[in-house]
Symmetry: C2
Subunit: 209 residues, 2 copies
């Protein structure tokens, strides 16, 4: 799945550069993998490439967007109006990929009522109502670990479908909710592990893995 | 590797709670995996557990820290004093794990000369000298995609060993440099892919995968 995201990122770059067709080798270089891997991955979703011509950029891009669940915009709630929340709110690729942050929540009375780009920061007790009214599908948890489970419970009860969890703790959710955990320490430790175990070896197993 | 990080996080939580020994089941729950997986992973690095008693928390924690390359502090340079850079600079787990940001670089003249917690923001032309003087091992790239390759080249030339890359682009580095890519869009798309393909299914393949 991560490689598909990286192929899409490569295709978007190529489109901005005005490229209309791309060889598997060139797409592989943009995604940090091999041409054989590109051909294998894309063949799983139907045959897009033409021998000797490569892949047509716009249709492959559309197909990947559809596979990745990006064919329609996704309405997102941000929990936590701290520094990580602010960084995510302003992260341009989210908007480009159709993720729209339509609600922001925080527990700090100092922050409640402020607006970020037209979106009001609301108190957590308005969470359930707002999620339903704004038809929020996905929540981003950019809050401390100790608040994460309580917020996850409220989100699940409000009918959220997916959670991107930046809180450094494992949250328990019903089977109807999909969770993806992002822990910055884990990412940095994947790097130090690689430094320790194979100093002169290739890449750590990040998004390229 | 990612699971080892999550076990370490779980052991740190347990230690804070005053727990001295832990069963594989309890550790598995904190890391979002199974007891069998915990036992299998840990057996690869020697036998820590005692049947019926579980794992002794402090020695297992020390061993995992060593395996993950955390036995000594790591000196880190932050490239990019924007919102993502600020969020990372203040991220408590980095400090707790022994990652010390000893240098910050930015190209914005408005930011150069300011201090974050005693660390001056420097211009990029001081990068090579500073990396050597401060004995920086790891760089965190929190900069736009178009600047990433140029900075990676400078870092590699200055003798950096590892790069945690938040720029949404694949960077090319010599074999002596380890790169781990973190792309927030990829993480969010792993979630929408899971929503699209298996609405009522379990977790996406994040750090738990």
């Amino acid at each position: 799945v991560r490689r598909l995201s990286l192929y899409l990122r490569g295709l978007e770059e190529l489109e901005r550069e005005g490229v209309r067709t791309v060889a598997s080798e060139a797409l592989a270089a943009r995604a940090g993998t091999t041409a054989a891997q590109v051909r294998k991955d894309l063949s799983l979703f139907g045959s897009f490439g033409k021998r000797g011509l490569g892949y047509a950029v716009p249709p492959l891009q559309a197909q990947l967007r559809s596979i990745l669940g990006l064919a329609r915009p996704r309405r997102v709630a941000l929990l936590g109006a701290g520094r990580i929340g602010a960084a995510l709110f302003e992260y341009p690729p989210f908007r480009e990929r159709g993720f729209r942050i339509v609600a922001i929540f925080d527990e700090d009375p100092e922050k409640i009522g402020r607006r970020w780009g037209g979106v009001a920061i609301r108190p957590v007790d308005e969470l359930a109502d707002t999620v339903r009214r704004e038809e929020v599908e996905i929540a981003v948890l950019a809050i401390p670990a100790q608040a994460a489970q309580r917020m996850a419970d409220m989100l699940a009860a409000a009918g959220i479908r997916g959670i991107l969890n930046f809180a450094p703790v494992q949250i328990q959710v019903p089977e109807t909710v999909v969770v993806n955990d992002v822990d910055m320490s884990v990412e940095l430790e994947a790097l130090t592990f690689a430094l320790e175990s194979a100093p002169a070896d290739a890449r750590a197993s990040g998004t390229a893995g």
